[in-house]
């Protein structure tokens, strides 16, 4: 393609990416390096319906000039990144010197909000992603070998979890695992423990969130694999059958190698999606047991006092996390591309 026509082809999408992706990220990065001006606090008497008492308020006149001169606030550099609510560098150092075993160090680290969030986020990502790939592949193979008449309805039902809005899907599961819900009651019966409650136990809550993650994302892997299965060469499969390969050997040596590029694609998408796990934590009211980086951002912005810089710093750390997570897959894809 000529350079000129290439330029005109990509211009609209490049502009859109610049406007809606690049500039917002730049603004978030700038925000994360700033904190608010020093607040001038004044002692005042506050009177409401129920009487008067001593209280404090911000002296707006005192900071008005400062705010006007520097609307972004004070430059803080990496201060927000390093404070206790994020990387907590000084707390990590003191914990490192104060603890004697890895186990103790680990449990102390999980008491820090950022490491608590990243602990769950990484566990979720690395448990859910492979399970989604395996389950999606299994469903695709099963649907593909069903009779033609059945395939339509089967595909529809397999895709349902993905069609349901994540918040709603998670809420449905939330009520099903309630101690008086169908799954919760069944678990109590199976475990022989009438006191068992999924929502009250941290390990069970983690498992439930991951089950939800797999349930919600498996249809995505399924539909991609199902499309891929339609392109498997029938000649190669027939040759394998002539050589005496059974069903498993055909899948192992013909189908799986053929679908490998799709697996890379699904893994990439799922790593990104799962790293920003958010909806199930909100729907399950799971924040007492599990938090994620996205939930931390939401929590910073949802309080009565918005913590913009803190949310910005967590956002940048999330972007860095995604980049680190994807780098092995991207490097691999690049090498494959280079080889060709």
């Amino acid at each position: 393609m000529k350079h000129k026509s290439f330029f005109w082809f990509v211009l609209p999408s490049a502009l859109a990416m610049l406007l809606f992706i690049f500039f917002p990220i730049v603004s978030v990065i700038i925000q994360s390096f700033h904190v608010e001006h020093e607040q001038v606090i004044r002692n005042v008497e506050t009177c409401d319906l129920f009487g008067c008492k001593q209280s404090t308020t911000i002296d707006q006149e005192a900071t008005a000039a400062l705010r006007k001169a520097k609307p972004l606030g004070q430059f803080a550099g990496f201060e927000t990144y390093l404070d206790r609510n994020h990387l907590a560098v000084s707390d990590v150092k003191s914990t490192w010197t104060a603890t004697n075993s890895w186990r103790e160090f680990g449990s102390q680290m999980l008491n820090l909000p950022f490491y608590k969030a990243i602990g769950f986020t990484l566990t979720f990502t690395f448990v859910v992603t492979p399970l989604v790939i395996i389950l999606g592949f299994a469903i695709a193979v099963a649907v593909n070998s069903a009779t033609k008449a059945l395939r339509g309805p089967l595909i529809f039902f397999s895709l349902l979890p993905m069609m349901i809005t994540p918040l709603v899907g998670a809420l449905i599961l939330f009520w099903m695992v309630d101690a008086r819900g169908i799954i919760g009651a069944a678990l109590q019966y199976l475990a022989g423990n009438p006191e068992l409650s999924v929502k009250a136990s941290t390990p069970l809550m983690w498992i439930m969130l991951m089950v939800y993650g797999v349930w919600h994302a498996a249809p995505f892997a399924f539909i991609v694999y199902y499309a891929g299965l339609q392109t498997v060469s029938q000649d190669t499969l027939e040759a394998a059958r002539v050589d005496g390969a059974n069903r498993w050997l055909q899948i192992r040596h013909v189908v799986i190698p053929h679908l490998l590029p799709l697996t890379t694609f699904i893994a990439l998408m799922q790593l990104m999606d799962n790293f920003r796990v958010f909806e199930p934590i909100v729907s399950f009211s799971a924040n007492a047991h599990a938090t994620s980086l996205s939930w931390a951002i939401f929590n910073d912005l949802g309080g009565e006092t918005r913590q913009l810089s803190s949310a910005a710093a967590t956002s940048v750390l999330t972007i860095i996390g995604v980049a680190i997570l994807l780098s092995p897959v991207l490097v691999r894809t690049w090498r494959d591309f280079d080889r060709k």
């Binding site: 608010e36 319906l49 911000i58 609510n85 008491n111 101690a179 929590n299 309080g303 803190s310």
Partner: protein, 408 residues
């Protein structure tokens, strides 16, 4: 929809025996506020004003949009309906104007107690009150033979008897959902123990002390009588537990008592026996372990004087005795002349009479509330000590307060 609101509001105004001409404005009025019946009544009342353009955006997410919607010049919202905790967020961002001149010109007849003054300036006008007090099942208490609890220690004793009698395994309820609700329960319990949240006159937090530990221990003692899922129960969920007949005693918002005592969602035996009590004390203290709340309206700073005057007049009319009728009377504990309380409102009046403190209107209280809500569950789950949980909350608050410029 808008026309319907106007029609409804005009209808209300007429039945209240007031002519529409009572509220003539010239200017733009745009209201943002929370979404519940009492707020609808106020917005509809304001919309009854003629001569100007009155619109409203009432949503449960109002706190996420009100600051941004008032920061522009001119501001999109000319009035925000807020509570005592959230007026601070607007004042911190300097988006609401002092109302003294408007009160002098248009609001001489607003009762003085309704004016919220901070440092001598009127910043908001309150129109309703709220507080958390005891709700209990009088039939069950009579059955096990205990008096109506007045302290949290009484609640524990009663709960033990109810459990021993086999009436309910988890007889105590509470909005202990991790986050805002849990922090609110801590605020109540800490105030009940006589605690102060900050070193006087400064933003330095001081909750890791004997009162803080005592408050947490009482909360943990209560949770042993609560449904094990308590960290996921907000006031809706724990209210449903009471309506289902599982919860016998709980600390509940005055604004939600009506839902518990009406015929919907519960058996006759349950709803007819739910009774509202006063606020509870704790640890031998005399200050109730509860906080008083008000809802009120403000006027935006970044709007023309004409729009500010129109907004003031419309909101004043929307919270005037003219909005009270048979239907609206029971929607809230109105702080408006001409309001006659119903039994569901006994708790809030008892809380006011008992000298309950109002929720602190401090610029940095919201940050502490968030930090506390995020850090107490580990203690209630038995994963760490009370001191550690309080130290975590203090550290999380201090980091946030540095970022917001309250601490250096």
């Amino acid at each position: 929809m808008f026309l319907k609101h106007v029609a409804l509001a005009s209808g209300l105004a007429l039945t209240a025996g007031t002519a529409l001409a009572d509220c003539q404005i010239s200017g733009r009025v745009s209201i943002v506020g929370n979404e519940f019946p009492a707020i609808h009544t106020v917005a509809n009342g304001a919309a009854a004003c003629t001569g100007g353009d009155v619109k409203s955006n009432l949503t449960a997410d109002h706190q996420k949009i009100n600051v941004a919607g008032m920061q522009g010049n001119p501001a999109e919202y000319t009035s925000a309906i807020i509570a005592n905790s959230s007026v601070v967020a607007l004042m911190n961002e300097d988006v609401v104007r002092p109302l003294d001149d408007l009160v002098a010109q248009y609001g001489q007849d607003i009762p003085k107690k309704q004016l919220i003054t901070i440092g001598g300036k009127v910043m908001a006008v309150a129109f309703m009150a709220n507080a958390q007090t005891l709700a209990y099942r009088k039939d069950v208490l009579a059955e096990v033979g205990v008096d109506v609890p007045t302290t949290y220690e009484d609640v524990l004793a009663a709960a033990e008897k109810i459990r021993a009698a086999g009436i309910s395994q988890y007889p105590v309820g509470g909005a202990y959902k991790a986050g805002w609700n849990l922090a609110e329960e801590f605020v109540n319990m800490y105030i009940g123990h006589g605690g102060e949240f900050f070193k006087p006159g400064s933003a330095e937090v001081a909750i890791n002390n004997a009162q803080g530990v005592a408050a947490l221990n009482m909360m943990k003692a209560l949770t042993t009588y609560m449904n094990p899922d308590f960290l996921t129960h907000d006031s809706n969920a724990t209210g449903a537990e009471m309506e289902a007949g599982n919860v016998i005693l709980m600390n509940m918002w005055g604004s939600r008592m009506g839902n518990l005592m009406d015929a919907e969602g519960a058996e006759e035996k349950v709803y007819s026996n739910i009774t509202v009590g006063g606020p509870l004390t704790v640890g031998g203290g005399s200050t109730p372990a509860s906080t008083l709340w008000w809802d009120g309206w403000t006027v935006a700073k970044n709007i023309s004087d004409e729009d500010a005057a129109a907004t003031f007049q419309a909101m004043k009319y929307g919270t005037s005795p003219a909005i009270l009728n048979d239907e609206t009377m029971g929607q809230a504990v109105w702080m408006i002349d001409g309001y006659t309380p119903a039994p569901v409102n006994d708790g809030v009046f008892a809380a006011i009479a008992a000298g309950t403190t109002s929720y602190p209107m401090l610029p940095y209280m919201g940050l502490l509330h968030t930090a506390v809500g995020d850090n107490l569950s580990d203690f209630l789950l038995g994963k760490e000590s009370a001191e550690q949980a309080l130290a975590d909350a203090e550290a999380a608050y201090s980091a946030a307060a540095k970022e917001k410029g309250f601490l250096q």
